[in-house]
């Protein structure tokens, strides 16, 4: 049935084993950090990248070679990461764990933005050390020595860390503090220091992987991000509570991925995500996992001021303002803002009112953009129908994704949605109807109801405004309905909501589907406005973007996300041409926001004027 040469089979097995080595090192680091700090370290890919860059820069500036880099790189990255933990991350331990995730995300944006700015996004070469070059003939295959070394080195590192944790005094502190940090502290162990060291250890492991990877892959600022998302899937499969589980799952999934490349190459980029979905259905806690309850302790959500007569006047004034704006500002720009504002409002329905952080909302936004584009361009659907079709498709996707994702809570939920969205991204990359890298271009705007020509920007604008107002109004109605009250009850106290007899999973799923549907309508509208639907809209960066908008503007308020979206789009638009790295600045603003004003800009303004 399969006509596979043993050379190809072993070749792919080796590649699988090498990828597995990186998965194992990275998921081990993530698991160690998560176990003790209860933080999903979104900067883990960045720390991996920093390891590779440390190797590159040590050679370039100081002439220090590979073996020096293997020692100094992880040490430098660990020191920087520990400084970050001490000065910033540790300040967030007492509040909702989601903020730790958001802070590390902001840090990742800053560092990657700066590195892309200084080094460009194309890869830089890094030579393998002299004594590891060449190949050995093993009889059944030719083994490049360096690749063999990578597998051995990562095994040594993994086993070393396992021994450190399972067999030493320091490791017993770490395991005990994972169970009950307070008691360990009462016994006289300096737990805050332990947390800092642990974060440093996790970061160092990522940096070791980075140095090992430098001669194999090119050294580039974005080398860590895609890898990290796969590692999240690995971690969900293995379960975060087991050190050995993280290591074994890493290697096994790497090999499985390599085998898929031999037998069914089209699926090789998504096989790990498919395995994740199956594991979630069969054994939600992961193969080696015990369910660790990470519940929200306290979120700084702002609240909308009660709407008095003045409030309604302000809202009408805003809508009226929006109605005249296209005559003064470039309509396409304002339309883009409105699309993103609706997207953020839809996302906030989930994060702000149910407390679920989805890190994969781009799948619904960008997916709907594709569906709408296809429906309008290929099937010749009327534009508004096309947009609604996109919304319905996104809601249907939301039903599937939500069904899987709500099986886990809190931080796992974020990782699962991120991983599923990434799987969707790979599907979009390969599926014929999305046209891969090109995307669907020159989408006709068509005639609204067959009558109004939307090629006029003003006509298009008013359609977008109508969709936006209708969308935000619907979301407002949902939040203020009895259904919305139950959602907020779940956010505040889930066990209580369960004890009151609510099937909270069904409510969460319903909210997820609605949020996906509105995100889809926003995405479909954007596709008609911009007349293109591309991979950018489904990428994880877009998911990150909507998180930024919502948190910057103000979680859990109707208007916050809209303010955040307007700010961010404006920001990107005006700074795009400047000689400064926009991503880094946005990341820095986000970090400030997470550290200092967690209510968001709108939330803080409302509080300032004591409107609530």
């Amino acid at each position: 049935m399969f006509d596979i040469s043993s050379q190809a089979l072993f070749g792919q097995l080796l590649i699988g084993l090498i990828n597995g080595s990186f998965y194992a090192l990275l998921s081990l680091g993530l698991a160690v950090i998560f176990g003790l700090l209860r933080v999903i370290n979104l900067a883990h890919g960045t720390q991996y990248m920093l390891g590779a860059f440390a190797a590159y820069l040590l050679l370039d500036h100081f002439g220090l070679g590979y073996w020096w880099a293997l020692v100094l790189g992880p040490l430098l990255v660990a020191l920087m990461s520990m400084a970050f933990e001490r000065t910033m991350l540790s300040k967030l331990y007492d509040i909702d764990h989601l903020y730790g995730l958001l802070l590390t995300f902001g840090l990742a944006l800053v560092i990657e933005g700066l590195f892309t700015f200084y080094f460009g996004s194309s890869g830089l070469p890094y030579p393998a050390p002299d004594n590891l070059r060449g190949t050995i003939d093993l009889g059944f295959m030719i083994l490049p020595i360096y690749r063999g070394w990578v597998v051995v080195a990562s095994l040594i590192a993994c086993i070393g860390v396992w021994l450190l944790i399972e067999r030493t005094r320091l490791g017993s502190y770490l395991r005990a503090a994972t169970e009950n940090p307070t008691l360990v502290q009462v016994f006289g162990v300096n737990v805050p220091l332990l947390l800092t060291l642990t974060y440093g250890l996790g970061a160092a492991l990522a940096a070791v992987a980075g140095v090992l990877a430098a001669p194999i892959y090119q050294v580039s600022p974005t080398m860590g991000t895609n890898l990290l998302i796969i590692v999240f899937a690995v971690v969900v499969v293995g379960g975060m509570s087991s050190i050995m589980g993280a290591i074994v799952t890493g290697y096994v999934l790497g090999v499985l991925e390599g085998l898929t490349k031999v037998f069914y190459p089209q699926a090789s980029s998504i096989v790990i995500f498919i395995i994740m979905a199956i594991v979630l259905l069969a054994r939600p806690a992961g193969l080696f996992g015990r369910e660790v309850q990470v519940t929200a302790t306290h979120t700084d959500t702002a609240s909308d001021p009660a709407l008095g007569n003045l409030g309604y006047v302000i809202i009408f004034a805003c809508v009226a303002l929006l109605a005249v704006v296209p005559f003064f500002l470039y309509p396409v720009f304002v339309m883009t803002v409105l699309c993103f504002a609706l997207f953020a409002a839809a996302f906030n329905l989930l994060l702000g009112y149910v407390g679920l952080l989805s890190f994969g909302h781009a799948a619904f936004f960008g997916g709907a953009a594709y569906f709408t584009a296809h429906a309008v361009k290929v099937w010749g659907l009327e534009p508004l129908t096309g947009i609604l079709f996109g919304g319905v498709c996104a809601a249907a996707m939301g039903l599937g994704v939500g069904f899987l994702a709500i099986r886990r809570q809190g931080l796992y939920f974020a990782m699962i949605t991120l991983a599923i969205a990434q799987m969707f991204y790979f599907i979009c990359l390969q599926a014929p109807f999305t046209h891969g890298e090109d995307g669907i271009q020159s989408i006709p705007r068509g005639h609204l109801f067959g009558l109004i020509d939307l090629n006029s920007n003003i006509a298009m604008y008013f359609l977008v405004l109508a969709i936006f107002v209708a969308g935000v109004f619907s979301i407002w109605r949902i939040i203020n309905s009895p259904f919305g009250n139950i959602l907020q009850a779940i956010r505040e106290n889930e066990p209580r909501a369960i004890s009151l007899g609510y099937n909270v999973n069904r409510y969460k799923l319903a909210a997820f589907v609605m949020s996906a549907g509105f995100a889809g309508i926003a995405g479909g509208t954007k596709a008609i406005v911009a007349q293109v639907a591309t991979l950018v809209d489904v990428g994880w960066q877009m998911s990150g973007h909507v998180v930024l908008m919502t948190v910057l503007g103000g979680l859990g308020t109707i208007f916050g996300p809209i303010v955040g979206a307007a700010m961010l789009v404006t920001f990107e638009n005006y700074f795009a041409d400047f000689q400064i790295p926009v991503t880094a600045i946005i990341g820095a603003v986000f970090v400030l926001c997470v550290m200092l004003f967690r209510r968001g800009i709108y939330g803080e303004v409302v509080r300032l004027f004591r409107l609530s």
Binding site: R169, S172, Y173, R175, A176, T178, E179, N180, T182, L183, V184, Q185, V186, F187, G188, V189, N190, V191, P192
Partner: protein, 234 residues
């Protein structure tokens, strides 16, 4: 009388917004065993948790041998000689029995060696490589106490060591406490089991609603019998 080893004055404490201790005064002298009595919710456990620093929001003064525990970081409190056995015992399931015993760093020269501990608790030796929480309730209680003895604590804070144990184990713990007392250790014991406490305590404090309402030495116990029955409902 010499200065007390542990002296608590006007101790107030809060869990978040809720005010749980309303000015607790108590003294524990060197080598003495003091029992805190009181109903559920009277503030006994909270008093211990405030002394160890697990409750951080507190006012008043807690002096241990002259050292101000209010200004001592949580992880330094043990180093001034305090050993804490929480009500839920706090045995770690991811650690073996031996690892559990070795967990608290040795904080003084009185720290016992593992051999001495195993001599005192022979059944822990037999189960030294078992998972900590696989042991019976009584064994876990022994382990929780053995653990702080190994570390060399001089002042033991014991939160209901007899809770949920069979009578034979309770008397076993009673004997152990007598041995420790003979060794000169200072013990602050929270106990609802009044009959158990009367056999080992030198001094009693009765708590109600976050305050000490009365204190008396064991010699006056019979005189206070009726009042105690009224307050404790035993």
């Amino acid at each position: 009388m010499p200065d007390p080893l542990l002296s608590v004055r006007g101790l107030k404490a809060w869990y978040g917004e809720s005010h749980v201790l309303h000015g607790v005064d108590l003294d524990v002298h060197r080598g003495e065993t003091v029992t805190l009595l009181g109903r559920n919710g009277a503030g006994k456990t909270s008093t211990l948790r405030a002394i160890t620093g697990i409750i951080q929001k507190r006012e008043g003064s807690i002096l241990l041998d002259g050292q101000d525990l209010l200004r001592t970081p949580i992880h330094r409190v043990a180093w001034s000689g305090i050993g804490y056995v929480p009500e839920e015992r706090g045995i770690f399931s991811s650690l073996s029995v031996e690892e559990n015993l070795l967990l608290p760093p040795a904080v003084s020269r009185e720290a016992m060696s593992l051999d001495e501990i195993y001599e005192l608790f022979p059944n822990l030796y037999e189960r030294r490589s078992s998972e900590g929480t696989k042991l019976s309730g009584g064994e876990q209680q022994m382990m929780a106490m053995a653990r702080i003895l190994r570390a060399g604590a001089r002042v033991l804070l014991l939160d209901e060591p007899t809770e949920g144990l069979a009578p034979v184990l309770i008397s076993r713990i009673g004997e152990l406490l007598k041995v420790l007392k003979k060794k000169g250790l200072t013990i602050l014991l929270v106990e609802q089991n009044f009959r158990f406490a009367r056999k080992i305590a030198d001094h009693f404090y009765l708590m109600e609603e976050g305050q000490i309402i009365i204190s008396f030495p064991v010699s006056e116990l019979d005189a206070h019998q009726e009042m105690l029955h009224r307050h404790l409902g035993v």
